[in-house]
Symmetry: C2
Subunit: 129 residues, 2 copies
DNA sequence: CGATTGGTTAGCCATGAAGCTAACTATACA
DNA sequence: TGTATAGTTAGCTTCATGGCTAACCAATCG
């Protein structure tokens, strides 16, 4: 019952913006100052800083200021947490698919057995593979 | 150079909402009607339908109506696409970490070699691990 | 010291997202 | 045929987001 997702909200929201995804991608390659990060974007600094702030409050990015330059780096935990979520969903999804496949196989076998018993009923299924 | 992300925007935005994540999780376990999906949520139907619509336009969910009931199911592609994004970032991140580690190792060796040459300079580094 | 650079704060605006109610459509059931 | 069920559409509020400008620190550098 524990709602383990209060941070996923913010992580996904942060990653929903292409600018912020680009920042994350850039930071994957190594830490950088705000100015360096902002450079490729045609955007006023304050606007850009908002993105940085969103990334920070989501936990995706850490930063600290030394002198007058703020250096940002990736905090892998949030990223990994989000990736985990996908993997969990995929696990459930795939488990279901396996069960479904097993079910289909069972049906198939039963049908074959039935067909063997009374061959009168010919191939009368529609597009079921 | 191809900007393969116009959909990631919508996928991540869709997943940023806990209601919609819950819907996705529910659909991982198998398809369901809108009514079934909406049942656990204390929310007016039209509001809930908006979430369904967001999930559909993001490509995460497919639905079709037969009779008066609309049945929803997960479309795994978008989910996998988003998961891919994480894996790509992690790959870059880890490659960098490896390079960084190699670099640190190199520094370490050089330091040891230097220390072996002139043992005068004792342990004079500050908290660098 | 004074100017420049790098970032920050404050405040404004437009848009969109998330919720609601009310009214409507269309299928299914009696 | 009439009524209940399952969604849908329309339209409204409220609040968050993403962008801007202008003014403001605070380190550096000449």
């Amino acid at each position: 019952m524990a709602n383990q997702s209060p941070c996923l909200d913010q992580v996904f929201a942060a990653l929903a913006d292409p600018t912020r995804r680009a920042i994350v991608m850039r930071l994957c390659a190594g830490e950088a100052s705000v100015g360096e990060l902002a450079d490729p974007f045609a955007m006023a600094l304050p606007s850009f800083m908002k993105h940085i702030h969103v990334l920070e409050t989501s936990g995706l990015v850490l930063s600290e200021k030394s002198g007058r330059v703020r250096t940002c780096r990736l905090s892998p935990d949030a990223l990994l947490g989000a990736e985990d979520w996908f993997q969990q969903q995929r696990a459930i999804w795939e488990a279901r698919l396996d069960r479904f496949e097993a079910y289909v196989m069972k049906l198939k076998k039963e049908k074959e057995r039935a067909a063997a018993k009374r061959p009168s009923r010919t191939t009368k299924r529609k597009g079921s593979e």
